[in-house]
């Protein structure tokens, strides 16, 4: 069980003058309990605080106030690697690109073994990555889809208690999204993984037991997809809203 207790994340406001720093609240007093083995989808408009919330759980963003408790243990002050070793893993929305480091390196670190058979079995389990990926450098030559598949594999290789996937479908071709949803569902069922997916994609929203709708740093709704539909339609959740919500530019980029 992962509990968020009055979690708040503030950053200095870019417009502040330094002497009188204004603070901008990105995540505002969020409390929520993720039950063990549940499948959760976090959605909401761009800039609503979804990724910031996910990064707070992983420890990439520091908490301004509040507490994060995993299976009864307060992990609020633990650094990233200790949270990871406690069972939380985060799949980045924009995965890091390295020079020289290969998929094999990342997978070996994640799995804690460089045993060839085990790595091959892992790739088979993930399914979406081809074996030829193994010795590819995880660098700027990889396509957006390839690097996201690698990211997914490294999360699953950790056998996490809590797996957070930040927009796992970015750059992924349409016909891979179905298998990807099936994979996350299978991992959830077989390993009782608490699964949290930040997404705008209906396939993930439908797969989730519970949907969290984030708006202006707060949970505006939690429950089933049906109940969220009126609000989602109202928000017209669109990944391009920052581009099309202008006075002069009315073209739809969707």
């Amino acid at each position: 069980m992962l509990e968020l207790k009055n979690v708040t994340f503030e950053v200095p406001d870019a417009d502040s003058d330094g002497e009188n720093p204004h603070r901008k609240t990105i995540v505002n007093d969020v409390s929520f309990t993720f039950e063990t083995g549940g499948f959760y989808a976090i959605t909401g408009p761009n800039g609503s605080g979804k990724t910031s919330l996910a990064k707070l759980i992983m420890g990439i963003n520091p908490l301004t106030s509040g507490k994060i408790v995993l299976d009864g243990k307060d992990i609020s002050d633990l650094p990233i690697h200790e949270r990871s070793n406690s069972g939380i893993v985060y799949g980045f929305q924009h995965p890091a690109r390295f020079k020289g480091t290969t998929f094999r390196d990342l997978l070996s670190i994640a799995a804690g073994t460089d045993d060839e058979d085990r790595l091959v079995r892992l790739i088979a389990r993930v399914g979406v990555c081809s074996l030829d990926f193994l010795d590819k450098p995880v660098d700027s030559k990889l396509s957006g889809g390839e690097i996201k598949k690698i990211e997914l594999a490294t999360v699953i290789a950790r056998n996490p208690k809590v797996a957070i996937y930040d927009e796992p479908d970015t750059g992924i071709d349409l016909w891979t999204i179905g298998p990807m949803v099936d994979l996350l569902k299978r991992e959830q069922k077989e390993n009782n993984t608490t699964t949290i997916v930040v997404s705008h994609n209906r396939a993930f929203l439908e797969a989730a037991d519970t949907l969290l709708l984030i708006r202006k740093g707060r949970i505006a709704y939690d429950g089933g997809l049906e109940g969220a539909m009126p609000m989602l339609e109202d928000l017209s959740v669109c990944t391009f809203s920052d581009k099309c919500e202008g006075e002069n530019d009315v073209r739809c980029y969707r």
């Binding site: 992983m58 990439i60 650094p79 990233i80 690697h81 990871s84 070793n85 893993v89 985060y90 980045f92 924009h94 995965p95 890091a96 390295f98 020079k99 020289g100 480091t101 290969t102 390196d105 990342l106 670190i109 994640a110 804690g112 450098p137 490294t154 950790r158």
Partner: protein, 306 residues
């Protein structure tokens, strides 16, 4: 014939557990320690007696030659002139390298002046590692010069590595590429403490459809200094690329100067260069896979210098 230090140095510079198989020439403290030739690879001392000539017969396939240098005599500064002639259509691996063991206060140095003549259609992989070990305080100096002349459709892959221990290094690499020739040169340098390393590269793409790719990876620890210069000159329709990246760990100072010169209208040339600390997103990723900060830094550097 080999003492414990020699064996350690051979292991580090040439990955050898003892005397290599096939052709080799081992030089220790300015003198010949051992030599073996093969049916296709001949090694002779040059006329002046200040180096060797490695002559590889045309058509020689899948053979290798090892020419490591061991330096363990305080105060010795050894200069050697080696010539490599790689016959037409040969396909060989040359493992060179120099290891310095410094046990005293006096400096020790080695300057290897290497010239490669790579004949038509020949392929060569040249692996050169420089290491320096020992508890002595004398400066360890390595100043290699590599000149490469590539004939039509020749191919060369050169891996030049120096990972710590060397106090001063001044490297010069020059290459002239004939038509259809391809050169892939990768330099990896890690410096620490107050070490300095300088690398000056001059590559001329002289023949039509020649290709060169120059990659430099630098890691600067402590107060070390590294300067990297590369001039790529296109004299024909050709393709050239330079990629140099430097990671500054502490208070290192780096200068990276890639230069492209097109003297032909059909030249295609690109370069990318970066200097900076280890990228934060890379650290976050590895830490999110359970590595602590130091372990994450080590893995990133290991991959970078691989």
């Amino acid at each position: 014939m080999l003492d414990a230090t020699d064996k350690q140095i051979l292991k580090e510079v040439a990955d050898l557990e003892g005397i290599p198989k096939g052709a080799y020439n081992i030089r220790k403290n300015g003198k010949l320690l051992g030599r073996e030739v093969s049916a296709n690879i001949n090694i002779t001392t040059n006329e002046k007696g200040d180096g060797i000539i490695i002559d590889i017969k045309p058509g020689t396939k899948n053979e290798s030659v090892h020419i490591p240098v061991i330096l363990s005599q305080a105060g010795l500064h050894d200069t050697v002139y080696n010539t490599f002639i790689i016959g037409e259509d040969a396909d060989v691996t040359i493992v060179a390298g120099c290891g310095i063991h410094c046990g005293g206060k006096e400096s020790e140095g080695h300057s290897g002046i290497h010239e490669f003549q790579i004949k038509k259609g020949a392929r060569v992989r040249y692996v050169e590692k420089h290491v320096a070990i020992g508890d002595g305080t004398g400066r360890r100096i390595l100043n290699p010069t590599t000149k490469v002349f590539m004939e039509e459709n020749a191919y060369a892959e050169m891996e030049l590595t120096q990972l710590g221990g060397v106090d001063e290094a001044r490297r010069v690499n020059e290459a002239v590429l004939g038509a259809g020739a391809a050169l892939l040169m990768t330099e990896r340098v890690m410096t620490e403490k107050d070490q300095m390393a300088e690398s000056k590269n001059d590559i001329a793409l002289a023949g039509t459809d020649s290709k060169a790719n120059v990659i430099s990876r630098s890691v600067l620890k402590n107060d070390s200094v590294q300067d990297f210069y590369v001039n790529l000159t296109a004299k024909a329709k050709c393709y050239g690329h330079i990629e140099c990246d430097a990671i500054i760990m502490d208070n290192g100072k780096n200068q990276t100067v890639p230069a492209l010169r097109a003297l032909h209208p059909d030249a295609e040339m690109t370069h990318e260069a970066s200097i900076g600390k280890i990228a934060n997103d890379q650290l976050m990723k590895l830490m999110s896979l359970g590595l602590d900060y130091d372990a994450a830094v080590n893995r990133i550097i290991q991959g970078f210098l691989r």
